[in-house]
Symmetry: C2
Subunit: 162 residues, 2 copies
DNA sequence: TTAGATGCAAATCATTTGCAATGAA
DNA sequence: TTCATTGCAAATGATTTGCATCTAA
């Protein structure tokens, strides 16, 4: 029995869809999914908050984390922890791909190789282990940064460590 | 093994060695390294604190973390983050080995395969990326737990999540 | 003697949670 | 209507840091 909010409230509540696998599709969830898609992979909670804010849609951190957890549960997004950094989220894709992060510029490079699948299968058979998640993560210096020879300096920067 | 110490102070300060690559070898550091060695891999800060306490040697968390960081810098230990869990430490070893963790019982299985090195080399060459750290981590269910069919229940337990 | 280490408590940082208010279906 | 979601603020839990006090070399 209340009308639309004119101020900081979410504008894009168009109710463009019904439920989401049994869970209500809210404006916040729609926007978050949207942002994750647009981000083209590798976006974190903080960045989602920032982008939403820029769009004039303030979503509380609690909601962001709760939504991300829901998306994970529903299999809509994948969560990756790259190094000691916070978690990154990306729309779930069928292909196996892993990541490589540059310590210097922070660039994230995706890698894909049949060797990964092969390795997982091998391990799975040898140990009778039922693998549900594969995390192959490489850290180092990308081509450009390897030339700069500024590693040590930047590598120590708190900015890159957390 | 307990109760042989009356005061809370560190007893084993025998100054059994000089410096440690330029850094003073203190009783705390000696004990921590000792514990990490005895742990036979995969021990975390909390467990180190607990084990030290049991021995009657109270080492402050701050010192534990500071020591672990030093050990890492000196290349004495390796730090691994297994899943969302806290970091685990192990004495540095020459061989490449990675880990597989059971979601159900928490067991940590080490895996080793020439495929890993092969994969890293391949990626390195293809992308001109200078790899400094390899983290290959598998999550799933070990042989025993796969049979139990109690996955869902235990899997959700907060105990396993953090 | 003295640079560097320790302990303590307070500070960070990411994430979670309790609860009352709000909103989707 | 009704139950799930949201926002807020407080709680958590791991790790870090400032500072005064110790201690290895």
């Amino acid at each position: 029995m209340r009308g639309y909010n004119t101020s900081m409230k979410l504008r894009l509540s168009r109710k463009q869809s019904g439920k989401m696998q049994g869970h209500p599709m809210t404006a916040q969830r729609r926007l978050l999914l949207e942002l994750i898609k647009q981000a083209d992979g590798h976006i974190d909670a903080r960045e989602l908050y920032r982008l939403a804010s820029i769009k004039g849609e303030l979503i509380s951190p609690a909601t962001i984390y709760r939504s991300l957890n829901l998306f994970k549960t529903l299999g809509l997004v994948d969560e990756r922890r790259l190094g000691k950094m916070r978690c990154y989220y990306e729309i779930k894709r069928p292909s196996d791909h892993q990541h490589m992060v540059c310590n210097c510029c922070g660039k994230i490079i995706e890698i894909e190789s049949p060797l990964i699948r092969k390795l997982v299968n091998k391990v799975q058979n040898e140990h009778g282990f039922n693998v549900t998640k594969v995390e192959f993560y490489l850290e180092g210096y990308c081509e450009q940064c390897s030339d700069k020879e500024t590693h040590k300096v930047v590598w120590k920067s708190p900015k890159n460590r957390r």
